[in-house]
Amino acid sequence: MLSVKGLRANVGENEILTGLDLEVGPGEVHAIMGPNGSGKSTFAHVLSGREGYEVTSGSVQFDGHDLLELEPEERARLGLFLAFQYPVELPGVNNTYFLKAALNAIRKSRGESELDAVSFMRLMKERLKVLHLDDSLLKRPVNFGFSGGEKKRNEIFQMAMLEPRLAILDETDSGLDIDALRIVADGVNALRDPARSMIVVTHYQRLLDYIEPDHVHVLARGRIIRSGGKELALELEERGYGWIDEVAA
């Protein structure tokens, strides 16, 4: 599904990713953990096509496509989804309208018919139920005036509606209290599917108490220095990130 080989990327003069390798198979949930500045968010942004990053070498294959050649919207239409660490506010843009436009843009690119208002509302209600969310966020402008928890819930709801094949959750747990964290994690778990892969980027082990990963990777100085099962996360929790520098050096 996703194959990252020797990925190097710069921000300005600084090389942030220094040869990152990662293989993600269908239905797998991978956690990427690492200290601040290790390149976690850069990796998420490079995958989703954000400007401001220069890929200097390496390749990213997604379902047989050369991902790095594609515009952000083309990646999204292929089934890539980034849940933002800091979801962006769009004043005046109705949340429901936004989602409908996004979903239909994706459907259209796949040669599927666009959903009409009624079918869309039906789908929305169904997904709200799966995630145990109420519809209070839908009538408001996208993320505008939302609390931190509301913004994250909205990201998960968008994910449920857009049905990506690969979801990247960029520090989705940051800034959430334990209740909000549980709601978000429950949502993510409800969306686990044999056809849907996920990359959960996080600083803390805490989120992984709720979202159980198949694989855990430790990112340091722009590359993955260790991979393992979920027990690796527990080990990180115990030992902290201090030991990593020695390994990465």
């Binding site: 989703s48 096509g49 954000r50 400007e51 515009e71 952000p72 919207e73 990646r75 999204a76 239409r77 989804f81 980034l82 933002f84 979801p87 962006v88 506010e89 769009l90 004043p91 005046g92 843009v93 109705n94 309208y97 936004f98 436009a101 996004a102 979903l103 843009a105 994706i106 690119s109 402008p141 968008q158 857009l162």
Partner: protein, 494 residues
């Protein structure tokens, strides 16, 4: 300014009544064509003789001729206004022909001669080819017959006593009403362009709504009879008697070409006790080519007089066209408890310049006004909001809320805000909010990461920005306006 679309039966009309009249409009085609009778054209130039000639050819009553001449004499004494933030070469008023045939033979001979950008816009708006010709000013021999539509429409209005006709007709059939109200809101001496208009206006719209009557439909120039080429000096007069209501739609979303570069219209609204007038405009005159050449100069004076207690006048405008827009729809809140509203979206891109805003003059007690202005600038667009809120000494308990938001796209455009506030009564409550924002890269990336194309993202954010204003437009008009805005801003990013 108002696009005269009466002879364009399937134009993307500025009309909420559009759907209900679609059938009638289409059937209009079956009645065949009428060929316009060529009328003569006065040679370019302006003097008292020309004004007398205009008045004579229109068969106007003597009072009208005198009024025009008085306006002309005062206009000669007036200086050209220089205070607005717009730049253009001086206008040669002697080079303009002030009375001309309804159709011109010196326009483009076929669509091949028309700016391809304009044609592309027509295509996107889904305008039929015959209409494209008419809108682009291509000389066509046959004009679609719209008489049957207009007649049906007028009969319905006549049942409730609403008069809706051209101002020329009104001068023939209801001279006493015209005489009583014309110039009572915008006197000929008001400003340079209003003065010129008063002297030489050729036609325009007249609406009279009798007491306690709710006009049964949205009125639009679209359904007005025989209004082809009311041209560059248009005059509109709307009178709402006690307790009446009328909603008037002006304009057309399709960009209109006109060989007349200068447009100086005057619109006067009079609302008597308890009456309400809602005036909505979509202005999409040709903005010129990419260098700004050939675009329309639109210098308009629009003013409403809330003459009676508890009356209300509401202006809503969506301004996307013209090379230069100079326009300040205003309200005089004379009656106690009267209400004035101004909702505006103005877009400037390419080399367009707009200096627009409103004036709210509070004279009566407990008068209220609301101003919501949304300016969008892209590319090299220049835009100024200029607003005056004046609370007179006797206006106890007056209130104003002003909200002025500017949205910038790119880094070569500009937006200015000039709010003037004069308060002479200590009980007044004034609120002024102003913001300037840019569409951020973060916002665009967020939308794109959800599968939306960049242009759709821009249009979505811009429409969100304008929402409060679009909410004030009649439904179909709002849909058209949104579409228009999206098309206007295509290619404006990056």
């Amino acid at each position: 300014m108002s696009a005269s679309t009466a002879d364009l039966p399937t134009s993307t009309p500025a009309a909420t009544a559009a759907s209900q009249y679609d059938a009638i409009v289409r059937s209009g085609y079956e009645h065949g064509f009428v060929t316009e009778i060529e009328s003569d054209t006065l040679p370019p130039g302006l003097d008292e003789g020309v004004i007398r000639a205009i008045s004579a050819r229109k068969g106007e009553p003597a009072f009208m001729t005198d009024w025009r001449l008085a306006a002309y004499r005062k206009w000669l004494q007036m200086p050209t206004p220089a205070w607005a933030s717009v730049h253009h070469p001086p206008i040669d008023y002697q080079a303009i022909s002030y009375f001309s045939a309804p159709k011109k033979k010196d326009g483009p001979k076929s669509l091949d001669e028309v700016d391809p950008v304009l044609l592309e816009t027509y295509r996107k708006l889904g305008i039929p080819i015959e209409e494209q010709k008419a809108l682009a000013g291509v000389a066509v021999d046959a004009v679609f017959d719209s008489v049957s539509v207009a007649t049906t429409f007028r009969e319905k209005l006549a049942e409730v006593g609403v008069i809706f006709c051209s101002i020329s007709e009104a001068l023939q059939e209801h001279p006493e009403l015209v005489r009583q109200y014309l110039g009572s809101v915008v006197p000929a001496t008001d400003n340079y362009y209003a003065g010129l208009n008063s002297a030489v206006f050729t036609d325009g719209t007249f609406v009279y709504v009798p007491k306690h009557t709710r006009c049964p439909m949205e009125l639009s120039t679209y359904f007005r009879i025989n209004t082809a080429n009311t041209g560059q000096f248009e005059r509109t007069l709307i009178i709402a008697e006690e307790g009446s209501y009328v909603s008037y739609l002006e304009g057309c979303t399709a960009p209109q070409r006109d060989e007349n570069q200068l447009h100086a219209a005057v619109v006067e609204l009079i609302a008597l006790e308890g009456a309400e007038i809602k005036y909505s405009t979509v202005q999409n005159w040709y903005p010129g080519d990419e260098h700004g050449r050939g675009g329309i100069y639109n210098f308009v004076t629009k003013r409403g007089d809330c003459r009676g207690a508890r009356s209300k006048i509401s202006w809503t405008q969506v301004e996307t066209g013209s090379a230069i827009t100079w326009k300040y729809p205003s309200c005089i809140l004379r009656g106690d408890d009267s209400v004035g509203e101004f909702y505006s979206v103005a877009v400037t891109k390419g080399r367009q310049q707009a200096d627009t805003g409103t004036k709210m003059i509070h004279l009566g007690k407990n008068t209220r006004s609301t101003i919501v202005s949304k300016g969008i600038s892209a590319q090299h667009g220049q835009q100024s909001y200029r607003g005056l809120v004046r609370i007179a000494a006797k206006a106890e308990g007056a209130r104003n809320h002003t909200q002025c938001d500017s949205l910038l796209i790119g880094d070569k455009c500009a937006a200015n805000t000039f709010p003037y506030i004069e308060v002479k009564n200590p009980t007044a409550k004034m609120e002024h909010e102003a913001t300037t924002s840019k569409i951020s890269d973060d916002q665009l990336f967020y939308c794109r990461s959800r599968g939306l194309a960049e242009e759709d993202a821009v249009s979505m954010i811009v429409n969100g920005f304008c929402k409060e204003v679009f909410n004030e437009l009649p439904m179909e008009f709002a849909v058209e306006a949104q579409k228009l805005l999206s098309i206007s801003l295509e290619g404006a990013v990056g």
